[in-house]
């Protein structure tokens, strides 16, 4: 059942709006040279930080479709009746979300780095930092989606919850402290299924 759930969520991600956060990511990366000016030295210095801000804001876009549609349609109830723990459902959703979000993000980092005048070295470092950070980011997105599911104005609330919690990832990633970034990402990935599972149970009426 959990395998079927992951396949379903991946299919829904790709047939739905998986390209939307990516387009948003590229758009934010495009805005930076307009805002800062065409000075290549300055751009390449702020490039990695700008990439991460673009990635964090892009991660907010899919939140409202991660958990709420399945809660409203009774899919989460039926999964529970089929014997799946809410924590397993959340873990499956995290994996499926990461699969639809991270590879496309890593791919679009290549054109984004060109817009920011980053050289090959900087691009490689940014790709590694994003690869380490995206599992934590995907886990955080699902947890926040579960906590805000069914609430009015869930989208804005999700932003207020997700962005502060993603700050450790951001700090360690742009400081090139990859081990600390990996630790933060691991902590988020390990904790999120339990937070999301409890939130799903608590949202039942």
């Amino acid at each position: 059942m959990i395998g079927a759930l992951i396949m379903r969520d991946v299919r829904r991600g790709f047939t739905g709006a998986a390209w939307l956060p990516i387009a948003f990511f590229l758009l934010v990366a495009t805005l930076v040279p307009f805002a800062i000016g065409p000075d290549a030295r300055l751009l390449s210095r702020i490039g990695p930080g700008a990439l991460w801000i673009a990635a964090l804001t892009a991660a907010l876009l899919p939140i409202e479709r991660l958990v709420e549609p399945d809660r409203a349609d009774g899919v989460l109830d039926q999964l529970a009746l089929h014997g799946l723990a809410e924590e397993s459902v959340a873990a499956g959703k995290i994996l499926a979300h990461w699969l639809t979000f991270a590879p496309l993000l890593l791919l679009s980092t290549v054109p984004a780095s060109a817009l920011l005048a980053m050289d090959g070295d900087a691009l490689a470092r940014a790709e590694i930092a994003l690869a380490i950070g995206t599992p934590g980011l995907a886990a955080l997105a699902v947890a926040v989606a579960a906590v805000t599911a069914g609430l009015p104005r869930a989208g804005s609330l999700a932003g207020l919850l997700l962005l502060p919690l993603a700050v450790p990832l951001l700090i360690f990633a742009v400081a090139d402290a990859l081990l600390l970034e990996a630790a933060a990402s691991l902590l988020l990935t390990a904790g999120a299924p339990f937070v999301a599972g409890a939130a799903i149970r608590a949202s039942r009426t």
Binding site: D73, G74, D77
Partner: protein
């Protein structure tokens, strides 16, 4: 014989209001129990408690493997009806024919009417192969043909040793025990 569903001294509180307390009931194989009562008396909550989706305040609930049909469709709207039902396992084909939606197998779920969706939810329950069926307002949106087909399905399920707990304020066809909830 072990009951399929047993409530022993169960109390349920929703939003600070006590819906019922000290409720005892047992549903044995072959039995059907209708929970009746006015709007807001806790019929749906009782069904969700029986399903294990709500937690009782006091008492104990023992349940067999079960399937639930309520107002939520729990089917992917962009898929064809057959593919959407297959996600939940079992072989839905026979059950789809039994509720009269076999000819809709290739139609996307988002195009179905509310009566057809209700039939689909009943087909999911019939295909589940579980001994205990929980039906919340099963007659909503159903036409006379579907009501007759549902009665046949329930009869066959009971003959095969299954049990049914249904919440409805309308009379259900056939031979049902009744549990009346009050406000």
């Amino acid at each position: 014989m072990k009951p399929l569903l047993r409530f022993a001294g169960v109390s349920l509180r929703r939003g600070g209001r006590l819906l019922f307390e000290g409720l005892d009931l047992a549903l044995h194989p072959g039995e059907a129990l209708q929970v009746a009562g006015p709007n807001g008396s806790g019929k749906s909550s009782l069904i969700r408690l029986a399903a294990g989706l709500l937690r009782q305040e006091q008492g104990q609930v023992d349940r067999s493997p079960l399937a639930l049909a309520d107002d939520h469709i729990a089917l992917d709207r962009e898929l064809s009806l057959l593919r959407a039902l297959r996600f939940w396992g079992g072989g839905p084909d026979a059950a789809m024919d039994a509720v009269g939606i076999g000819h809709l197998a290739d139609v996307p779920v988002r195009l179905l009417s509310s009566g057809q969706l209700k039939r689909a939810a009943l087909a999911r329950v019939a295909a589940s192969g579980t001994p205990l069926w929980l039906l919340d307002e099963p007659l909503n949106a159903l036409d006379a043909d579907a009501v007759a087909r549902l009665a046949e399905l329930i009869d066959a399920h009971r003959t095969g040793g299954g049990g049914v707990l249904a919440a409805s304020h309308q009379p259900l066809g056939g031979n049902w025990r009744k549990l009346e909830l009050t406000l």
